[in-house]
Symmetry: C2
Subunit: 334 residues, 2 copies
């Protein structure tokens, strides 16, 4: 019995210690997820190497899907991301390789008894096209599919909550198309537990101190906020740009983002074809990254003609060295 008591006490001590650590050291702030998961990064023709376009951005365990090509639901299953945490889907434009997976995924959500509303942000035409499909194939769905019509040619905030905002990035493609800019909201500073204890800061002051207030002791001494807190990490940002003609106009909007995904359908040798089909080359993607001073570039939306994407990577790296290739099942912390 006594042994059991000590065991429990020991466990409690460890939990409290970890909690204290979590509150004190900023290293634990990195636990707040801002993670990009690639479900598909091919272009119009799906191949055995690349699925049609879809990505999931995991921001503090809320999942935001961007585009939803055919086969996305299986890729989502493969990613082991929790279906139930996905409530918002952003569709860049109405080409099949960016939205044909929606109906199947929604149908599956219905079968697995999802109840939370699913919000889809897309050009108004998607709603018109999908309503008859949903009415026929997904009769009696236990949740609502809520369409939010967006105007892709206008730069607007289409989503906003306490941790993130999403803004459209107008692009130039064969039909109305936009990218999406995800900006994390600032996180309060981290308090230094030892200092809080030392100055006997009462509990009700903690949040105010986290948000930047100084502390005034009983004897009137002012303890500056900088002595009580460690600044939180700067908010992170992710810009998704697919599909688009080389378009330097977006540079100002995506300036300095932590990660830029930019389509790189072709090599420079296919520059003429890129222009006709209103796509970009790997070099052009890198040039956008460079002029926008982004921290990292990921290229994707690879044409089926390339058996190996390394040639696209090499071309981009010549202009912007911190470039990586998108790939199915790749998960990257922004």
């Amino acid at each position: 019995m006594t042994g059991r008591f000590y065991q429990t006490a020991y466990l409690n001590f460890i939990i409290l210690y970890l909690l204290a650590l979590h509150l004190t050291f900023p290293i634990f702030a990195h636990m707040e997820k801002f993670e990009l998961n690639i479900l598909g990064c091919g272009s119009a023709l799906p191949t055995m190497r690349h699925n049609a376009t879809s990505q999931v951005l995991n921001i503090r365990e809320k999942l935001f899907m961007i585009d939803c090509g055919e086969g996305t639901q299986v890729q989502l299953r493969r990613s082991r991301l929790k279906f139930s945490r996905l409530n918002h889907i952003f569709i860049s434009h109405l080409h099949g390789d960016h939205c044909f997976g929606l109906i199947g995924m929604i149908s599956t959500f219905g079968m697995i008894e999802r109840t939370a509303d699913l919000h889809i942000y897309a050009h108004a035409d998607l709603q018109k096209l999908m309503r008859p499909q949903l009415d026929f194939f997904c009769k009696g769905l236990p949740f609502d599919v809520v369409f939010h019509d967006i105007n892709p040619v206008e730069r607007t905030v289409v989503y906003d909550d306490r941790s993130v905002s999403v803004e459209t990035i107008p692009l130039k493609h064969r039909l109305p198309t936009c990218g999406f800019l995800f900006r994390e909201k600032p996180v309060p500073n981290h308090i230094i537990r030892d200092m809080i204890d030392f100055y006997k800061v009462p509990l009700f002051m903690i949040n105010r101190i986290k948000n930047g207030e100084d502390f005034v002791c009983d004897d009137g001494t002012v303890i500056p906020n900088s002595k009580l807190t460690i600044p939180s990490d700067p908010p992170r940002s992710y810009a998704y740009c697919s599909d688009t003609l080389y378009n330097p106009e977006i540079s100002e909007q995506i300036k300095g983002v932590d990660l830029l995904f930019h389509e790189a359908t072709f090599l420079e040798t296919e520059k003429a074809r890129a222009k006709v089909t209103m796509h970009s080359t790997a070099r052009q993607a890198a040039e956008i990254a460079k002029m926008s001073d982004v921290k990292k570039l990921m290229i994707g939306h690879f044409s089926a003609r390339y058996d190996d994407d390394l040639c696209l990577l090499a071309e981009a790296k010549e202009i912007f060295p911190d470039t990586i290739l998108a790939n199915e099942n790749l998960s990257i912390n922004v």
Copy 2:
């Protein structure tokens, strides 16, 4: 130069010898393909093991697709079957896991410059649902999508050419559903070359003899057809039955087919669920096979709840030993 001459002569000799063999021995008749390719054999919820339903029957290099769930186009690519040889698609019923792959596949066919019409045999509702999608996503398609409305509750021949006929098999499911019965047309007998030479049968008589005529020599002697030919293989048949409640009524129609595909969504332990959802158990599939005296049974349309389909196989084999499991990328000669 002389060496080259002998080489060519030798090659010609081999080619002629093989040609003669081909005309003489019935073993070569087996070269006429009647091959079933499984592209997907899962049920409503796609998993990482099983794709949504689709099959391709290759009859003498003409491809007939049956059902077309999400992801079928990638599976078709994986199968290495030639896209251009697929002109006819049969849809058993309008549940998403049997038709969501159509729009993506048709869209891809458009991009790879297909020009031959594509014929789709399905309930009339499919056309209504797909037309707006085709008009929007597949504008300027270089071929026509021709819908043939079928009435699944009626047993009718929906396709017929000189090598095969396709008949609907009315099934019992939650909405109008049918299976498809593919029957090969008889092939002419194989002539015995040596006998043809021996009796000096003129060229113009060959086809008539293949089709069963006797030969009358110049001196009036009648050479019976059986001396000049070897009977061709009996025509083959394939019955596809998915999705359906246990339905012994189909037995008479599919009697003696060479291969029966029957859905086996559940085990007997889930018999009540099978009834409610209007599906079959593995045992029920086997019972249909047994009472229909088919040569071989393939089960598929497995529920996502089973991590291993061997339990379904074992259950079916108890009743009908010549049972095999469907599986993605399985190709079987009927």
